[in-house]
């Protein structure tokens, strides 16, 4: 999940003057320790990007030629093609799902809304692994078909397989954004169009769809960003997108600058898309109306069962196939005496890294959130934007940059847990900032002022009143970072100490080597944790509302 700071256009009053005169703390200056700490955090967040630029410019003159090689061009084109396929696919799945779960009398509507949101939380490489282990040449499907004499199934790798898997994990970006847009559109908007002479169909074409377009497009851009940044699924399914090419280049070549150049290409593409997504999201925000009525619903009639069939296929592919396949291999593995002990070790490693990173990340986020919520200024905006920009970088890019940086400047931390945890804490900080900011907004300065009027000093009032009030936000933010870190693959792959396996790297190792049974247990654990992510996110929404 990525995002940039969104700024709404100002609303103007009757005489063109800003109507918002709410008291803001613009006159208050942030205490200098807070400002300095926030600046350091912003610097850390941007470090990979800065280093990558320096590194790429330091490359040999042959770098330009490398960039223009047909193979490089082919990789870029393939990556963009993958993005387009995933974008189109996620619109094709997400928009009908959003419409069916908000505007129709679909049986079991709330259930479908939840089921179709869960895939977003499942790591792409888990679904990728499951697809390999199910549809692959020697997968579960072949096993089921073996009695019929099927020896081998065609490969599901390549562009099609990668696009399918990435669509199945990223379409919820579109369905969730579109649902939200539908729910905040006043039904009277459509009714107005009817009364002005349009038929139902014309209203859909002239009003309903255009009003939803920014939200749909923003969701699709997020899905495309996901696809372009993805490392796990494309690697397992052996599609040469930029992130896989970066990894291969890094592993194979002596001149790592070439990997840095590929990484910069990917960074430019993703930052441009991130910017576009922010613009579209702002636009979608201006389309929201003060709706007080729920959306009007359409009776599906005889389309009822085709609609249910459609959702069943989507949920079947995105949830049932991964869960079923992993369960099948898990049972097979246990039957063959696959040791569970190993999984416990690996899980403890993951939890250790995730736990420390979560605590550190929330601490860093509190600094940024305090600055942004209490002392809004250009500095605060800059710091916040920097952390989000770091967050928008693809994981493989950050991993690569940190490998370079550590080996060059601080070899002592290279391949230590310290570096891994530090990178995680900085990278996933934006996930915690949002919730903490909202929490600080609710706790408000009034709470501390009440404390001070009763005799507390400023620091004491903050510690006695605000921090306890923020506890739910801390817990939710920490849980979110923890779960994200546990599921993260490329950084763990490149930065973890040798021999230190996590759930993610264990699945990757086993799946790339074809040991599906060995990958099943950690994958099953990650599936459970993914559902936990959704639960935390839902609680997060409640807590910040």
């Amino acid at each position: 999940m990525s995002g940039v700071v969104s700024r709404r256009p100002p609303r103007f009053g009757p005489r063109g003057s800003p109507t918002r005169t709410a008291v803001r703390d613009t006159d208050r200056r942030a205490p200098w320790p807070l400002a300095v700490a926030a600046l350091i955090i912003a610097f850390l967040a941007l470090l990979p990007l800065v280093y990558l630029v320096i590194r790429a410019f330091g490359a040999e003159a042959s770098a330009a030629a490398f960039l223009l090689r047909p193979r490089t061009f082919g990789v870029v084109a393939g990556t963009l093609g993958l993005g387009l396929l995933v974008g189109a696919g996620s619109i094709g799945l997400g928009v009908p799902i959003a419409w069916l779960t908000t505007r129709t009398d679909l049986p079991g509507r709330p259930m479908w809304a939840v089921l179709t949101a869960i895939p977003l939380a499942i790591p792409s490489y888990v679904v990728g692994f499951a697809f390999l282990a199910f549809f692959g040449p020697r997968g579960a499907l072949q096993g089921l078909l073996a009695p019929l004499g099927v020896e081998r199934l065609p490969s599901i790798g390549g562009l099609f397989g990668a696009a399918l898997v990435l669509t199945l994990v990223s379409f919820p970006y579109v369905s969730i954004a579109t649902r939200a847009a539908i729910l905040r559109t006043d039904p009277a908007v459509e009714e107005s169009a009817r009364l002005l002479g349009d038929s139902r169909l014309a209203v859909f074409r002239r009003v309903t769809l255009p009003v939803l377009v920014p939200a749909i497009a923003a969701g699709a851009l997020l899905a495309i960003l996901y696809a372009l940044s993805d490392f796990g699924a494309v690697s397992l399914l052996q599609f040469d997108s930029l992130s896989r090419a970066i990894y291969l280049q890094y592993g194979a070549s002596f001149d790592r600058s070439l990997a840095a150049i590929l990484a910069l290409v990917l960074v430019v593409i993703t930052l441009a898309l991130t910017w576009g997504e922010g613009r579209l999201r702002d636009r979608a925000g201006t389309y929201a109306s003060r709706a007080r009525r729920p959306p009007t619903t359409v009776a599906l009639g005889r389309w009822r069962w085709p609609a249910v069939a459609f959702l069943t296929v989507v949920v079947g592919l995105a949830l049932v196939v991964p869960v079923g396949t992993i369960a099948w291999w898990l049972v097979r593995g246990l039957a063959q005496g696959e040791p569970l002990r190993l999984v416990v070790d690996v899980a403890l490693n993951s939890f250790l890294v995730g736990g420390i990173a979560a605590v550190a990340s929330v601490a860093l986020a509190l600094v940024v959130a305090l600055l942004a919520a209490r002392y809004p200024s250009r500095l605060a905006t800059l710091v916040e934007s920097s952390t989000y920009a770091g967050y928008a970088l693809p994981g493989i890019v950050v991993a690569l940059a940190m490998v370079f940086l550590a080996t060059r400047t601080l070899p002592i931390v290279y391949q230590t847990l310290v570096l891994l945890v530090a990178v995680y804490a900085v990278r996933f900080m934006p996930q915690a900032i949002g919730g903490l900011r909202a929490g600080l907004g609710q706790a408000g300065r009034g709470l501390e002022e009440a404390g001070r009027s009763l005799g507390d000093g400023p620091v004491r009032a903050f510690a006695r009143l605000t921090l306890p009030a923020l506890r739910p936000a801390f817990v939710a933010a920490g849980a979110l970072v923890f779960l994200t870190v546990v599921k993260e693959l490329p950084l763990a792959l490149l930065l973890a100490p040798i021999g230190f396996d996590t759930l993610a790297t264990e699945i990757w190792d086993a799946a790339t080597s074809g040991f599906y049974a060995r990958a099943a247990a950690p994958a099953a654990l990650l599936l459970v944790l993914s559902v936990g992510t959704v639960a935390v996110l839902l609680r997060f929404e409640d807590a910040t509302r």
Binding site: P14, E191, S192, L195
Partner: protein, 389 residues
Amino acid sequence: MSAVIRPGPAFAVQARGLRRRFGDVLAVDDVDLDVMPGEMLTVLGPSGCGKTTVLRLIAGLDTPDAGTIEIGGRRVSGAGASVPPERRRVGMVFQDVALFPHLSVRDNIGYGLRRDPDREVRVRELLELIALPDAGDRMPYQLSGGMQQRVAVARALAPRPDVVLLDEPFSSLDAALRTQLRGDVREILRAAGAAAVFVTHDQDEALTLGDRVAVMVRGRVEQVAPPEVVYGEPATPFVATFVGTANLVHGEYRDGLAVTRFGVVRLVGRGSGAGAGTTRRGLVVMRPEHFEVLEAPDGPADAGSWRILRRRFTGTEILYEVAAPDGERLWVEAGHAVRRLRLGDAVNLRLREIETVVFPAVGAHPATTTAPLDAGLAATPESSATALG
């Protein structure tokens, strides 16, 4: 404005026997409603009385369970007819504005003029009419609430509908803006010569805007009449207490006269001629301004004097709730001469020479006088309405 000159049908809207049920609730119960061409009819009622449902039935956004609707002399609903909303020639302005967020002001206003060759001209004309001649290129979110609502009115008027329906269009705006916009919209609708149905729960709005006012409660229309008649000759006790402040005072009446504890009053309206020859008990409507408040001399209050319980300043007048020794309570209005009355003071009341209405007493009505319904004065500011200790 050809719509006005054309010898059209007698009614812009004619609804007969409308009925609409939602589950157990009879939202609209046997409603008849006529709107004359060029007339502004306001529909006043507490929230949940079914007034919005009536609008939606007329617009075709909802279908009545029974009854018929004619718009511009054409049957659009009931008795086999069911004209979809887009072919009813009805304009509507919604409570929450509902402008098309993705279209400019110009395209919003021109939305219903797709096939009109004079689209540009008409849009410019309406922008002038709503006094926003230069706002055509702006987007809805760039406008203030009041401007948005004016654009919504222009958008509804653009295709020259037979009738414009307004569903509490100002309820989400602040008080000052509401008053101003009320005047603006009335002028705009006048200038356009359009018939309009304006739904509101605000009695000031209903009385100042309406050529006629329909008062609704619990799905039924209690009275349709010009505002001064609704106030002066309310048809039911509900109308009397919902529109303005009213005291219902016990009395006996016969042959157009009623006797109350304040003396004899002349009756008008429906009840006045009833009961010829026989004396009946009833409730006489007495408005606060029907009384003269006289400061009682100091000293022990005499048997006829009233004590002041509460005071309510409405901005233009002061209302007092007073109680008699026997417990009867009334709301009365004091002139400026007696502004310095305090809670607990004793006063004498004298009834001015009035004409009013009486409702036959039935068991269902409260035995004592009723205070003004809170709904009636909910919008007016209160001052020092402290209860007597």
